[in-house]
Structures are given as structure tokens and as C-alpha cells.
């Protein structure tokens, strides 16, 4: 990547603002954080999908037992 990432740094005592390039450590940290977020987000989505699938399966089984849709939905809410 040829783009030079820069940050805005404002000194609250003097009011001076500087635009500075990110350090190698800051760039590495960004990449690690983004990778960790992607993993966590995939896990969150997978868990939400598993929960939704389990609810749908439960509703289908309750309907097969003779409950109304409203009753089944109320039970798995």
C-alpha cells in the first residue's frame, strides 16, 4: 500500500494541530484490530443466525403439535 496514513494531533494546551504519519507500530495495531474485529463479527453473525434457525425450528415443531402460530411465537419469543 503506497498511501501514507496520517493522523491529526491537537495539543490541548497550546492549540497547535499537527498532521503526522502513523508509526509502524500504529499501522500494525490497526491491522491486528481490524482482523480481530472481523473474527468477532463473524462469530456474532453466526451466533445470531444459529439462534434464528433454532427459533424457526422450534416454532415449526410447536405448530406440528397443534399450537397456533401466535401461541408458538409467544413461547419462543
Amino acid at each position: 500500500m503506497s498511501e501514507t496514513l496520517t493522523k491529526i494531533v491537537v495539543n490541548c494546551e497550546t492549540g497547535e494541530q499537527q498532521i503526522l504519519p502513523l508509526t509502524a507500530e500504529e499501522i500494525a495495531q490497526r491491522e491486528a484490530d481490524a482482523a480481530a474485529f472481523a473474527v468477532a463479527e463473524a462469530e456474532r453473525i453466526a451466533a445470531a443466525e444459529a439462534t434464528a434457525a433454532a427459533k424457526a425450528s422450534g416454532i415449526a415443531k410447536l405448530l406440528a403439535l397443534g399450537l397456533t402460530e401466535a401461541e408458538a411465537n409467544a413461547l419462543v419469543k
Partner: protein, 170 residues
Amino acid sequence: MALTYTAIATVTVGSGGAANIEFTSIPGTYTDLLIKYSARSNRNDVGDDVKLQFNGVTTGYSNRRLYGYSTGVTSDATAGNEGGWVTASTATASTFGNNDIYIPNYTGSNQKSFSVDGVAENNDANSAQVLVAGLSTTTNSISSIAIIPRNGSLFAQYSTATLYGIKNTA
């Protein structure tokens, strides 16, 4: 109770964007701090998560997050330094995410709590709101704060952030 709000510093991102916005040399003369920011990320998505860093420390954060979005609401506990939620590249043009980060007792010697209240503007059903209760294990007085897009590389031009100092006495 907050009696006075003082705008300590304001940053507006110029053309080309900014990877981080950092407030440094924060005076220790206030009771609490508040960052109000309006930002947009260049992530190729409708929104982006924003990281918060105190004193350049990247570890020791934990959060409880309530997240509302187009089709529902979720809550989770993360080890990330959650600093809010902003719009990103595929959201409606020229819209921004608006967030408040409140940090009480920032000069104290205990671990630091913080809260975040944010919403990402978007002219579409796929929009998001976030509430965060967070904790940093740092026991040092907070003298610098950075906000950083977690997935995008830049905050877009016209993103702004203002740091306020709050006193409980006039």
C-alpha cells in the same frame, strides 16, 4: 453534576482524510471529559466501528454494548475499546455518524469508566444506533485520547471532533 462545559479543542478533518484524531496534553483541571464527534469512515460498508484509546494504551478495555440496526437489536460484551459507530462509504452521501463519549473522573487513580451514545445517519432502513458502557484498566490520569476507525483506514473530510472539559463547580 456538570455545571460548566468548556470546549478545549476542536478538530476538522481536511481533504485526504485522517487515520486518527488525537487530543494530547489534556489539562487535568476538569472533573469529566466529553468528546462529541461527527465522522464518516472510508470502509467499504454502510458503517464502521470506532476505537477509543486513552494515553496510547491499546489493551485493558472491556465493554457492554447495545446495538440497534435495521432488523433488530443485539447486545454483546467485547474486549474492544468501543468508541462508537459512524457511517461509511456505502451510506447515503454526505451523512455522518454522531457520537458522544463521556469520561467521568478522568484524573482519578482508579480504573476509568466511559460511556458512548451514538447514531449513524443513513437514508435507508439499514441504519444503526449504539450505546456502550466501557471500562479501561488504566489507573493513570488521562492526558491523551484518540479516536480511530476500526476497519476503514481514514475518517473522511469534514469529520469533526470537539473535546469538552466539564466541571462540577462554576
